[in-house]
Symmetry: C2
Subunit: 127 residues, 2 copies
């Protein structure tokens, strides 16, 4: 599992870790039912605080991506078949809004944005 | 200028403030050349720490959205006419990627995502 953290980034380390785990799942490198490494071992591997890994795992749990199961640890939820849940969709909207506003302010047009989002999506899915 | 901060959100307050200012600019409620309120007065209006407002303003400066000018304060940059700069586009890609990965993991399809992004974009632009 390849994780690369940028310590000088403005993005908090736990968010970088959570984002990279999400991307590994989206790319199919980690699958539903797989266990993530224990907090202790991932913290040791990445040379980071256990608290940081724990915070990343709780972020994924809150987003509905993993379940934290006593004794078993962090387990990736099975892939969603029936389409995104309304509550998750609403959160995606809230997450997208500031970035799309930023893109508008910086001069990006709608066609350009839609093409960009579509190509990032295809890249992650390996299409 | 209507700003609403959600203290219980996981999103840091300075990020919430920066995002809302970006959205006000994207919506045309604040325009290029306009001065933002002074750090002191906005902090007082919103009942927040001056350090928080300062951090939000520096975030906007780093993103190329405002200029912080000695004596004049924070001035919104003129609207971009010639399309988004490559460096800004690259940042938008990095910002979009984790959210699109999250949308994929949570079961959103490409068409659905593109339609969603397009409708958020139109909503912000008031189209």
């Amino acid at each position: 599992m390849f994780i690369q953290i940028e310590p000088s980034s403005d993005i908090p380390i736990y968010t970088q870790l959570a984002n990279q785990l999400i991307e590994l799942i989206a790319r199919g490198e980690l699958s539903g039912g797989d266990a993530l490494p224990s907090v202790r071992s991932l913290a040791a591997d990445l040379g980071m605080n256990m608290h940081t890994v724990n915070k990343a795992y709780h972020t994924l749990e809150k987003k509905g991506i993993i379940a934290i199961v006593p004794k078993s640890g962090a387990i990736i939820n099975p892939p969603v078949q029936a389409g995104i849940q309304d509550s998750h969709r609403a959160r995606i909207v809230e997450e997208l809004k500031p970035i799309l506003a930023e893109a508008i302010v910086l001069g990006m047009g709608k066609e350009d944005l839609v093409t960009l989002a579509s190509s990032i999506f295809a890249d992650i899915k390996g299409e």
